[in-house]
């Protein structure tokens, strides 16, 4: 028995070594950095140990802006994209002709490059002194005045960022949900039909609970993904996100590490740990809620 155990650990060893070197160690290191005050990567020295880094980050207006942006993004895009994906999936599974064509079309954004799509969005929404983007032309059609979505007011920029994020994350959700819907045994619908169940009730009492594990998976990964948003904002507003007021937490971490003011690994680490704490909390809340509403069978 003992020998078997040793063998098992030996088999696991290569993977464990890699995990240890490239995951566990950096994680611990980030945690340690976040408490080292005045650390500079050039001299690799620090003054003391304490919570100053956290206090600095939490009082930094750029961080607070990034925090606000990230929260807005999460709160708006996760429910909206999941709800819309559910709606589209239900619609997709209830049509027979051209179903596969539509599925392909809805999946296309998933395989396109983020930056390329960002460029397209920028062209669609941009307004220059000489020309209006397509969206602004549309607004004109309905009698509105043009808005600069890329360099204009905060709400307009936020709108574009949310719109873009939803558009990018939808395909995967639709893919997962259509297959979840297809896996529900039609005999339940037959039984419900014989018992005179309304379509509304069938959806909420049968379909939703049946696909709840998949839905829950999408919500959890959606939350985590949205909290880690960065490249989407860069694609739309360029690399100087602080100037645009559209930074995200991950963007702030990156800036602290590398951008012009860069070279502050301690602040970056503290911000990263704060993000980790937020994501952990949200995920735990999700898990607690799911105990009651998600049905595994």
């Amino acid at each position: 028995m003992e020998k078997q155990n040793v063998k098992g650990w030996l088999y696991l060893l290569p993977a464990l070594l890699f995990l240890g070197a490239f995951m566990i160690y950096p994680l611990i290191d980030v945690f340690v950095y976040s408490f080292e005050e005045g650390y500079t990567s050039a001299s690799q020295t620090f003054f003391g140990v304490g919570s100053y880094n956290y206090s600095y980050v939490l009082h930094d207006i750029y961080f607070l802006q990034a925090l606000k942006n990230t929260f807005l993004l999460v709160v708006i895009t996760v429910p909206l994209s999941t709800g819309l994906a559910l709606l589209l999936s239900v619609a997709l599974s209830s049509i027979k002709p051209l179903q596969e064509l539509f599925q392909t079309i809805y999946f296309l954004p998933y395989v396109t490059n983020t930056l390329a799509v960002g460029l397209v969005f920028m062209i669609l929404f941009k307004k220059t002194p000489y020309s209006d983007g397509l969206v602004n032309l549309l607004i004109h059609c309905f009698g509105g005045s043009s808005v600069d979505f890329i360099d204009g007011p905060y709400w307009a920029k936020m709108f574009v960022l949310c719109f873009y994020t939803i558009w990018v994350v939808m395909p995967f959700k639709i893919l997962i949900l259509t297959s979840a819907l297809a896996s529900v045994n039609p005999v339940y619908y037959n039984a419900a039909q014989v018992d005179g169940t309304s379509q509304f009730r069938i959806f909420f009492k049968i379909t939703l609970p049946m696909i709840s594990p998949m839905l829950f998976y999408l919500v959890i990964t959606g939350f985590i993904g949205a909290f880690k948003a960065y490249s989407d904002a860069v694609a739309l507003f360029g690399t100087n996100l602080n100037a645009a007021g559209m930074n995200t937490i991950v963007g702030y971490v990156y800036d602290m590490l590398y951008r012009d003011s860069g070279g502050y690994p301690s602040y970056a680490s503290a911000a990263a740990i704060i993000l980790f704490a937020i994501v952990l909390t949200i995920t735990c809340v999700n898990l607690l809620v799911s105990k009651k509403h998600v049905h595994y069978h």
């Binding site: 045994n185 005999v187 339940y188 037959n190 039984a191 419900a192 039909q193 014989v194 018992d195 005179g196 169940t197 309304s198 009730r201 009492k205 049968i206 609970p209 049946m210 709840s212 049905h295 069978h297």
Partner: protein, 369 residues
Amino acid sequence: MKIVLSHLTKKFPGRGRGSKKKEDVTAVNDFNFEIPDGKLVGLLGPSGCGKSTTLNLICGLQKPTEGQILFDQEDVTELTPQKRGVGMVFQNYALYPHLNVEQNIRFPLENLKGHEKLSKEEMRSRVEEAAGLVQIHDLLDRKPGELSGGQQQRVAIARALVKLPRVLLLDEPLSNLDARLRLQTREEIRRIQQKTAVTTIFVTHDQDEAMSISDLIVVMKEGVVQQIGKPQEVYDNPANLFVAKFLGTPPINIFEGRVEKGSLFIGKEAVLQLKNIPDQPVCVGIRPEGFILQADGPLSCALSRPEVMGRDVSIVSTHPASQNPAIRSIVDAESCEHLVGSTVRFSLNPRKVFLFDKTTEARILFETI
């Protein structure tokens, strides 16, 4: 409630398009039947004979291509399933896995609207009544996944009965149960049906099941009704070769035979003397219990072995004119004590012998002298 099926036909469009299009498949072909009020009817046939389709037509999950369905005087052919007031038990029970037993049984009641709407109290008493009927009181807060097959079956029946349906439909109700439970459950179904007196139709491919509990059985083959009647009548008086073969365990023994000058020949032996029958080749069906061991009987078979089954003995033998590889005959244990040698001789009980036309397979009635 009485159910009338008149000229009921269901065709499914053939697959493919253009020149590759296959012919329509007729699952149910001109089904005519009046099911009397409060009876238990078994739809019986091999798989693919249209019995499940018939059930789906009655409950409204499928629409007939032609024909009518009447519940008493009311034409329900065009009604949706929910308006027909039928309770259905599906082959795999279709219990909602995320709801517990009580919620499952209550589900149909919560669908009721308007003046039919029930108060919470009424619902609880109805659920308890239904649960009591199938004796699952102590399982109400379990999930379907925590129940055995037999218990799930009971829950499914309770769910079908709780809305007091006019008709109860069961699709292969016993096929997912093991042999022992099957015997128990079929008695249970009979008991529940008698207690509620609701007109019940159930589908099965197992003739034993259908024979044992039905008031009436309907034997189907390839969408066409072969025979309708009380189980014993159908067994004693099969309309054609198919019905004769389908009913009975062990199955009926079929021989190639011919009628010549008033005698029925199997091989070279004249086994029965008949009246008023023209000479013709025939198929002879003999029920296992139609053989009588007799030292100077007219039919001789090559003895393979006797199989002791307790009270009775099944004698396995062969005969060159037999269509079955082995002939099974059931005789008293006592009468076969003097089985000796390699040949066994039988005389036949004419009431257990049926003649069928060789081409149409229809029954040929005869009288013995």
